[in-house]
Subunit: 221 residues, 4 copies
């Protein structure tokens, strides 16, 4: 399945991530240079934050373009969008790669270190997921059915990041797992994606609300 | 009883909602495109946010004008204020309709997904309301008596939104229930209204304080 | 004892309060038009916020000048600074009056509805005060001794505001009670003052930290 | 070991601290004029905030340059950067001195009154440190090993600040203790440092996340 959107210009992608990252930073979800954001440029390339930048103060020089890889392969710097060779993508780029490769139509992947998702991941680690069944905000994930059964999966936070990516890749190789537009990493933070940056931002914010709700009211509320 | 205010120009109504929604977004009450705001334009029309917009970044193109309906009837796009036909009002417009139709003199209806109201709604669901008896901030609801008996009613969050609207409409058909300028929806968020946008904003913020207070100190504090 | 500062121009006083109130609003301490601020203009007059204004959006038109009264007397609109007669001071102006009249050298009185002070007031109501003995931030109140014994007094929130003012006035008639530059009102919020607006702001923020600290760690920590 | 960076111009150092302090203030970590920041200017001088300034509103006049002292000695006003003699450095300058003197290559020292660090310090006082073993954010401290054993040391909050500095100095005289780029003071706040202001800011924010995480999940999570 090919990417359904019109191509997004490089400068638009960068400006959108600068603005969205600043917004997430102000919510307290990207402290200490944590997290990483990417936006698809076209069928074969995406733009991603360089490693180690202050997410509250990104500039247009803090991004590099990468080629979308096949599942199980590493990406490379984009030939279509030449990049300053001194820039390195986040070590977690491989998780972005798994998401772009496995979920059709993804236009943006945002990874944040939102605190409540980490709290819930520790509480619910043995269950393998955080369950949410009743909050209205579930609709913000694009799930409109009555009495939805929503489980946000929790992945182990391997020190070897490609090992995390492999488990996310395996999870997303089953299209049934595309219904929930995000995965949570234990003691770490979550990835959320969408067909556009607008939708990815909506999913980031919706997960933030849902994890806070779950933490205050208990798993299953 | 007719609407007592001077008419509010379309652009003033939109600018006020852009500013108030941004303020509420920064408080964390409108994450993930949630919530909806409306302001009355004149005796028979109100302006409401279009469905699915980012409430932290509203623009003048994110609104549409609707006719105020009679209780039990659906509204229609305003003939006095022609609207881009591609815009759809929030699915929850029917609850705004019930409030405009039932409460005399309402000039604005603001609906927010403030987290503590959801926590309290789950805790107090069996009681049918959240009781507040002692906080000074109750005066912010326009209730100045000593030892007020304030109960903020909780409505079931039916998947069928018109069913929620019908219950809110029945509640507001009794003028004795107009004393509290808001209703809370379980696991969802609350609606607050006022004779002006200024008053509706004050009620939104006052409820936010009161729900946080109730959550920290317990129902009845 | 006469007022030791140079006179503060009316416009400077208003601008300072606009800026400080906006700052406190953003901290969440002045929701729903709550709170009130005043700054001394000279030996016999102070400028105070008009009743019912949005503290996040004050303008120069939201203030009126009042004469400092003797303890037990009500103030009047200032003859030196004529005021739009439609403006009314906050109902809590009488508490400002008690503070200006009783504490020598006070240059500003700021009243905020900070949530943790309300939580602590309910928890500690039977004790009559919230005790703080160890937090470094106590120095922010101007108390630098080792092992200070700090008790922030709690006053009943009478529906009759002059009754609160009378109790605050009696408390401040004892100069030994001037050491702590603030009083807390049960279920309501606190008043903090200082020789300048700068110092009053520092006291407001220090109390906010200390009440949060006390609420998290328990009375006496 | 000499300082490896190029010299930082005075105006750049001041502008960086104005911006970083404002950011920390907005997070709620520098209320009530608390905290202090310094940036190294060259091998023998650093710029530090003057005592008692509002950290949300610093101006270029709120700094003074000091000479880096040998361990156990007090610093003096910089001869290379003459300073308005009315300005006094924070009383806690001596702790900055210990850090610059003991840790090679430090380019900035930031001290904040972040609330969760104070809560954890009280909870963990008997243990002498707050332990953190699993949060991904530990990488923000520059610690990338798997299963790191991280203990953030807690120092007593002596009323005599030089006594705190002496204990921090003794701690940092062991290079093995340089691995964790910060120290926590009981009931007070923490110091974080880095080779650049950028790195010091990253460490401040990372500690803030880690203390909140530890407070919510318990010591050792």
């Amino acid at each position: 399945m090919s990417y359904p959107m019109h191509d997004t210009p490089y400068s638009t992608a960068a400006e959108t991530m600068i603005r969205d990252a600043h917004c997430f930073y102000e919510h307290g979800w990207l402290l200490g240079t944590s997290g990483n954001l990417s936006v698809r440029l076209d069928d074969t390339n995406f733009l991603i934050t360089a490693s180690g930048r202050d997410k509250g103060r990104l500039t247009p020089d803090d991004f590099l373009a990468r080629e979308i890889a096949r599942p199980g392969e590493r990406g490379a710097n984009s030939s279509a969008y030449p990049t300053d060779p001194s820039l390195k993508p986040s070590a977690e780029e491989c998780i972005h790669q798994a998401i772009y490769a496995r979920v059709p139509g993804v236009g943006a992947v945002y990874h944040v270190h939102e605190p409540y998702s980490a709290f819930c991941s520790e509480r619910d680690a043995n269950l393998g997921s955080t369950r949410m069944s009743s909050a209205e905000m579930i609709k913000g994930l694009g799930i409109w059915e009555a009495n939805p059964r929503v489980r946000i999966p929790i992945f182990a936070n391997h020190a070897d990041v490609p090992a995390i990516a492999a488990e996310v890749d395996a999870h997303l190789s089953d299209p049934a797992n595309h219904k929930i537009p995000g995965v949570n990493i234990r003691n770490h933070g979550y990835y959320a994606w969408g067909s556009t940056p607008f939708e990815a931002k909506r999913h980031v914010e919706t997960f933030a609300y849902l994890f806070r709700y779950s933490w205050e009211l208990g798993n299953g509320a």
